[in-house]
């Protein structure tokens, strides 16, 4: 049996994700999304990636989801009325189970992962900055040496996105016609 914490957070993540997919109310979906992201962040912690876990909570569960909620409130989309579309939901669940079976086969039953990494536990943490460490410093080191160019490009991408959003949200009278 795996670690108890892992089981708890995995269940939390999957349950929240299920809520996200199945709920008819967009706000409820967003709440499920936040929970699921927190669950993923918790799993990051379990994998000793503390920095990424914190980043995940701050950026995703924090900023991004707030943005989502804002838009949901702003657009104020009407909740669908009428009976819950059980048929669609059932179809979806069937699809899900089919694909999930595929995932389980790929990662578990096929034995492919076990054949490569048989260990039941992750290897010991190292203090060598080139290897996996828990220190945020090792991120910085890599970002400004090996991944300097991608970092610059990511920064530029953010700028482009910024400009794009500004031009998209400008109220253009011609395009509204």
């Amino acid at each position: 049996m795996p670690d108890g914490l892992f089981i708890f957070f995995a269940a939390l993540t999957l349950g929240a994700a299920l809520l996200l997919v199945l709920s008819r109310n967009a706000v409820t979906s967003a709440m499920g999304m936040i929970l699921a992201l927190v669950g993923v962040a918790a799993d990051f912690f379990l994998l000793d990636a503390y920095f990424l876990g914190v980043l995940q909570v701050l950026v995703y569960a924090g900023a991004v989801m707030v943005l989502f909620l804002f838009i949901i409130m702003l657009l104020d989309t009407e909740d669908p009325t009428g009976a819950y579309p059980w048929k669609t939901a059932a179809l979806g669940l069937a699809t899900f189970f089919l694909l999930a079976a595929g995932v389980l086969w790929l990662f578990h039953w096929s034995g492919a992962v076990a054949a490569v990494k048989a260990g039941a536990t992750p290897p010991e943490l190292s203090t060598n900055p080139a290897e996996f460490t828990t220190a945020a410093k090792s991120f910085g080191r890599l970002l400004y040496t090996k991944y300097l160019l991608p970092l610059e490009i990511a920064g530029f991408l953010l700028l482009v996105a910024l400009v794009g959003v500004v031009s998209l949200s400008k109220d253009n009278p011609e395009s509204n016609a």
């Binding site: 795996p2 670690d3 892992f6 999957l14 299920l18 996200l20 997919v21 967009a26 979906s29 699921a36 992201l37 993923v40 799993d43 990051f44 379990l46 000793d48 990636a49 990424l52 995940q56 950026v59 995703y60 900023a63 991004v64 943005l67 989502f68 838009i71 702003l74 657009l75 989309t77 179809l91 979806g92 669940l93 699809t95 694909l99 999930a100 995932v103 389980l104 790929l106 990662f107 578990h108 992962v113 076990a114 990494k117 260990g119 039941a120 536990t121 190292s126 996996f132 460490t133 991120f139 890599l142 970002l143 990511a154 991408l157 953010l158 959003v165 998209l168 949200s169 109220d171 509204n176």
Partner: protein
């Protein structure tokens, strides 16, 4: 962390991914579809971190950093698009957006 192997994390990531995928396929509300897309991305990052941890390299973790950056940018643009769409068409239900066929 005694008994969680790489496979456990991968299965969790895979299930999350598939769940997000199902949502993308089934949901009509574009906002929810978008959230499901983000969920798929998060699942991918989970797999990356797991691989990174088990292979004792930092590269996967750094890649996650970039994924989060790109996702943030993507969310901003995507939501702006959805808002623009809403202003033009008055709806965010994908059923109503069939002008590609018509």
């Amino acid at each position: 962390m005694e008994n969680t192997s790489l496979a456990h994390h991968l299965i969790l990531a895979g299930l999350l991914f598939v769940l997000g995928l199902t949502g993308v396929l089934l949901r009509r509300n574009l906002l929810v579809v978008y959230m499901c897309l983000e969920l798929m991305l998060a699942a991918a990052t989970l797999a990356l971190v797991a691989f990174s941890r088990f292979n004792r390299t930092m590269d996967g973790a750094v890649l996650v950093f970039f994924v989060i950056t790109v996702a943030a940018a993507e969310v901003a643009v995507g939501l702006a698009l959805i808002v623009a769409l809403f202003r033009k068409r008055g709806t965010v239900q994908s059923d109503a957006l069939t002008s590609l066929r018509d």
